[in-house]
């Protein structure tokens, strides 16, 4: 089933410092459509949580998971034993998996992905992990085919060859994906584990003031709890696969277990009528004469089909008419010019490069464009703020925002804007001033007025 581990517990001291593991399940069936994959990933994550409280499914790579390996020494005999237990559990669930335990996120990932036929790998130390990771072929790491071919043309086929490339220019030549892979492989980026929390259960409960012995009224109470649960399921694109009901009977001893039962519809559904029919049939067989004092529902959800969601008749998510009415209320409360959109202007001065135009409602279908890399967005003051004159001597540096903002440590500029001679002459020398605290101010020196102004900030 598994391949023998490379370092079985020969170095318990080093192994106890291991921080992270990667479980790769490469062979999710091709027949699973993308929406159903989420359910499979969630089920695998739930399985892996039996071995570590912190499990992070890899974004964009269904079947790859990172687990926090630290702090488990009292539960498992060794990292090797832990990894074998994970591997065995995945195999019992019908998956071929490779489990690598090591020291860094990228290291265990590369090691796990390099062995598609399953097994367990324990990386003895960080250096061994680094060597193993660098031997891995880029084709194993699921990178874009176009980028991979472009790299192969340069003779870059492995991680070791990739990290030897200079960082500058990688993003421009091969794209953001390869740039980030380079940063991860070289250790420049080492993001912490970001475990996904288990999905919140779909639960509803109700405590009754008086015991309720009537089955019909109980049915209405259960429906009152069930309808919102079905709505939440539909919002998440799920259908009900099983309903678990708990009824606490009045005048029972506190230690008595509630009356619990489950029912499953013939197929996952969001049909409240069908479900309540099943609930009422079950209620008729229960002894509730002493009266029910508390009710609890727990729902198991599975990904719903489009037909199931349509039958539920989920109302449109957002109502454009309601948005228009809300904007109208804002105009009434704050002025007719309060609701605007930005329009491009034709001027070359920053304040003339756009204009605010009142609107009643925005464009219905947004048309965003994909831009990479995105520009940093500046904040601009509607009215540039005149700064105090710079003193002749600045022993602590220039502090445009006073001591709290810190001194300027870096200045880019000047970028000269001039014009308007036919109306009001404008001559501005723009600068980007980086302060010690990290802020970057957008300033200009007005040559006509001989004054520094704060126009905005790079944010």
């Amino acid at each position: 089933m598994g391949r023998p581990e490379h370092e079985p517990a020969r170095r318990p001291a080093a192994a106890s410092s291991m921080a992270i593991a990667c479980a790769d399940v490469p062979a999710l069936p091709l027949s699973i459509a993308p929406p159903a994959i989420e359910g499979v990933v969630a089920a695998l994550a739930e399985l892996l949580r039996r071995f570590s409280p912190a499990v992070e499914p890899a974004a964009g790579e269904p079947g790859t998971f990172w687990l926090d390996a630290s702090g488990l020494a009292r539960l498992f005999p060794s990292p090797a034993g832990w990894a074998r237990a994970i591997h065995a559990a995945l195999a019992a669930a019908g998956h071929t998996a490779y489990v690598a335990v090591g020291w860094s996120r990228f290291g265990v990932y590369a090691a796990a992905r390099s062995r598609p036929r399953g097994g367990v790998l324990l990386l003895a130390d960080a250096e061994a992990e680094r060597r193993a990771a660098r031997r891995v072929a880029l084709a194993r790491l699921g990178i874009d085919d176009e980028a991979r071919v472009a790299l192969e043309r340069l003779g870059v086929r492995t991680v070791a060859e990739l990290v030897r490339l200079p960082a500058a220019g990688i993003q421009r030549r091969f794209g953001a994906a390869i740039y980030r892979l380079h940063r991860l492989a070289t250790g420049v980026d080492a993001p912490p584990l970001a475990p996904a929390s288990p999905p919140a259960p779909f639960v509803a409960a109700l405590e009754l003031d008086d015991p309720e012995p009537d089955r019909e009224r109980l049915g209405f109470l259960l429906k009152r709890l069930l309808d919102p649960l079905l709505g939440r399921l539909a919002t998440r694109g799920l259908a009900l696969a099983a309903l678990h009901v708990g009824l606490r009977i009045g005048r029972s001893p506190p230690s008595a277990r509630p009356l619990e039962w489950s029912l499953r519809p013939a197929a996952p559904t969001l049909d409240a009528v069908q479900l309540m029919g099943l609930v009422r049939l079950r209620l008729e067989r229960l002894a509730v004469e002493r009266g029910v004092v508390a009710v609890r529902l727990l729902v198991d959800g599975v990904p719903a089909t489009r037909t199931q969601l349509e039958l539920f008749a989920v109302p449109p998510r957002r109502d454009p008419a309601a948005a228009a009415r809300a904007l109208a209320r804002v105009r009434a409360a704050f002025g007719e010019d309060a609701v605007v959109r930005a329009r491009a202007g034709s001027g070359h001065l920053p304040e003339a490069s756009f204009a605010w135009e009142p609107i009643d409602r925005p464009r219905a279908q947004p048309r965003p464009r994909a831009i990479a890399p995105r520009p940093i967005v500046r904040r601009v003051l509607a009215a540039p703020l005149a700064l105090p004159p710079r003193p002749r001597r600045e022993p602590d540096g220039w502090m445009p925002r006073g001591a709290a903002g810190g001194a300027v440590v870096h200045l880019d500029g000047p970028f000269v804007l001039s014009g308007g001679w036919w109306r009001r002459e404008i001559e501005r020398d723009y600068y980007f001033a980086e302060l010690r605290g990290g802020a970057v101010l957008w300033l200009y020196y007005d040559r006509v007025r001989r004054t520094w102004f704060l126009h905005g900030e790079v944010a």
Partner: protein
């Protein structure tokens, strides 16, 4: 596209123009993460990262409203250069203290999937914070507040101490941002300082380019 594997490996989503990609924002910084929550974003890269979420919302056809003060606002040409459809982004411009009230008015309609409140240094009364949090939960919307960190008053020679959130404990996700230079340009980084749904400390980075000349 192979149903098993998407093209980017470890990458937390590429911003490249991939026609098959449904989202620009990476997991950890997308509407999937912020839906139904009151989110506070502060730091030197807050505005840029906020527009990452705006782009994600526009890609998903989620109506957005941006509320800011008249005195200070985002620079629209930068937002447009980043791909934002400004015609589909209504901006509500009010006096600084009224930003949160305007957001409350809009949020109650349930018609917006993303409300961005550019609060700056404005404080928001706790009852209004509670209403905004309730609006986010009730309508499965994201209420994103851009704030400047609050500071305790300076005493003598001591600088004011940062007190943390301006919005208090009702914030579901609080994020600190920063920006750093690298050889390619800039990297805008966010770090979850507080997260009621998962462990804090997760990080998202976005490579950006600075204004011409930086």
């Amino acid at each position: 596209m192979d149903a098993r594997r998407l093209p980017t490996g470890l990458v937390f989503a590429s911003a490249a123009a991939d026609a098959s990609a449904e989202r620009i924002a990476a997991p950890g910084w997308s509407l999937d993460e912020t839906r139904g929550r009151l989110v506070e974003l502060s730091g030197h890269a807050a505005l840029t990262l906020a527009f990452g979420l705006v782009l994600d919302a526009q890609r998903r056809d989620e109506p957005i409203a941006w509320i800011s003060s008249r005195a200070s606002h985002f620079f629209p040409p930068d937002a447009a250069a980043g791909g934002v459809d400004l015609d589909a982004l209504p901006v509500v411009r009010v006096d600084g203290a009224a930003v949160a009230r305007a957001a409350d008015q809009l949020g109650r309609s349930g018609a917006f999937g993303l409300l961005v409140l550019d609060l700056g240094g404005q404080d928001v009364p706790p009852p209004l914070v509670a209403r905004l949090a309730g609006i986010a939960r009730a309508h499965d919307a994201t209420v994103l507040c851009l704030t400047e960190p609050a500071f305790a008053p300076a005493r003598g020679d001591r600088a004011g101490r940062e007190l943390g959130s301006r919005l208090g404990s009702l914030v579901s996700l609080r994020i600190a941002t920063r920006r750093r230079r690298d050889r390619e340009g800039f990297v805008c980084e966010l770090r979850a300082v507080k997260d009621k749904r998962r462990a804090p400390g997760w990080v998202y980075e976005d490579a950006c380019r600075g204004p011409a000349g930086t």
